[in-house]
Amino acid sequence: MTTARTRVLVRIAAVEARLFLREPAAVFFAVVLPVALLLTLGATIPGFRDADPSLGGQRFVDAPFTSMMVLLSVVTLGLSALPAVLVTYRERGVLRRLSTTPVRPGALLSAQLLINVGVAVVATALTLGLGHLFLGVPPPRSPWAFAGVFVLGSTAMLAIGLLLAAVAPNSKVVQGAGAALMFPLLFLAGMWLPRPLMPELLRRISDFTPTGAFGQALTDALGGGGPQAVHLAVLAGWALAAGLAAARLFRWQ
């Protein structure tokens, strides 16, 4: 029974992955854009590749900028790609049709989570790999910590995406809400104003947002002495709270 379920989940995920690859916008914003930004800005902006004493002698491109691009990919998937697809599936009766078969509609949800994690892994591998190749970005100083932060942060962002999908009445609202949340959350992560340059109060606020904690933990795992407990706790809290709320509020039709 378990193997039959796994087999069905793999079949659904394979089809969902193909559908994802047929959406040029999704592939562009989640994979191409972060990698392209890292390579082009990293190669052209003066100072990005100079050793920075305020970063302990690292270059800006090494940890802070690379971690922002990893975060951008995960945030795009969690706040935009995942909820948009799920709400469209609910709106158009795809989930309802599935409920008429022996497969539970939850399988489609699991498949969607699976492929979004898969796409995030691919985008992150490309970011780190091509960054290393073209810009000399060193591999994560603590790989296991980096992997752990990546999983925890992705879980938190996808859980928030599930919650958005659960409460949004239709696909227009979920797209608008996703975009409206994305910009402040990227700002708080330090996308435009790096966290070390933020005023103290703003940085304290940022510590408790999912993206602020995720971005700092990624930076610390990439180039620093490992993530801080507070950021891991914040990510776990967001993952748990959003996940539970989504599970309670999700409507299948």
Binding site: R7, R11, V15, R92, R97, T100, T101
Partner: protein, 314 residues
Amino acid sequence: MAIITVDHLRKTYGARVAVEDVSFSVEEGEVFGIVGRNGAGKTTTVECVAGLRTPTAGTIDLDVGPDGGAGADLKEQVGVQLQECSLPDKIRVGEALSLYASFYRRPADWRALAADAGLDLRASFATLSGGQRQRLSVALALVGSPRVAILDELTTGLDPQARRETWELVTRIRDRGVTVLLVTHFMEEVERLCDRVAVISRGRVRAVDTPAGLVARAGGEQRLVFRTERPLTAEQVTGLRALPEVTSATVEGGDDAGEVTIAGTGDLLSAVTAVLPASLMRGLRMERTTLDDAFLALTDPSYGPSHAPSQEES
């Protein structure tokens, strides 16, 4: 032997009663229609049969599996095509069918189903016409080789050509021995496809009968209308009225020609031509009670038999 038995089904949503009291049984291998106006409770009824909703009261028995058709086994044996269920735009016909086939223990040959429905395996869902989408929907309902297929408002919104093609598909499903539960509000569809039909109005079953039986219940009267060159003689009119098949005969006088309307039952035409030479009749036409009349008479208490226009339900 009945494959579906619905006994005093009732379904309420809070204070709103969707289905008041519905009972019927469906024999194995028949096409059983459920007709009614919008909001009559048709869809809720079949959703309960399909196991998608839990009845508030009453029982539904499906003789489809060893465990009495419960849970996953019911989903294996009952294929469902619901209203307003679409697929992702970018999915191809072949992908959707092979994916859905993998959900079942004994799937049908999905390539044959697609060929039967006249579908191109490589076409994306977004590029399909309304008729093709409906036929894909039917194919998806059949891909698990179910014993019962529930088809809800199959041809609503289709053009006449697409409707006909979909009807042929349903006929072929029946020929394979699949029992079909068909929800519709098109009387033409009922006449074409259904062996028996339940008429539902305001959450209750008003009648269960064959399409012909429903027409007979609504009077089943026929009328012969024709004109004559010379007015009929008194003897001719008396002779017509004396026929056992004739219930009434009226002659409307004109100057040199009268319109004659003869109402009756049975083989009215043969009986009338036996006493009145057909050569006397001009512009002979025959009117009979239609299934539309029967449907309206059963579902609308204000509908009298006097006005006959068959109006389409919106």
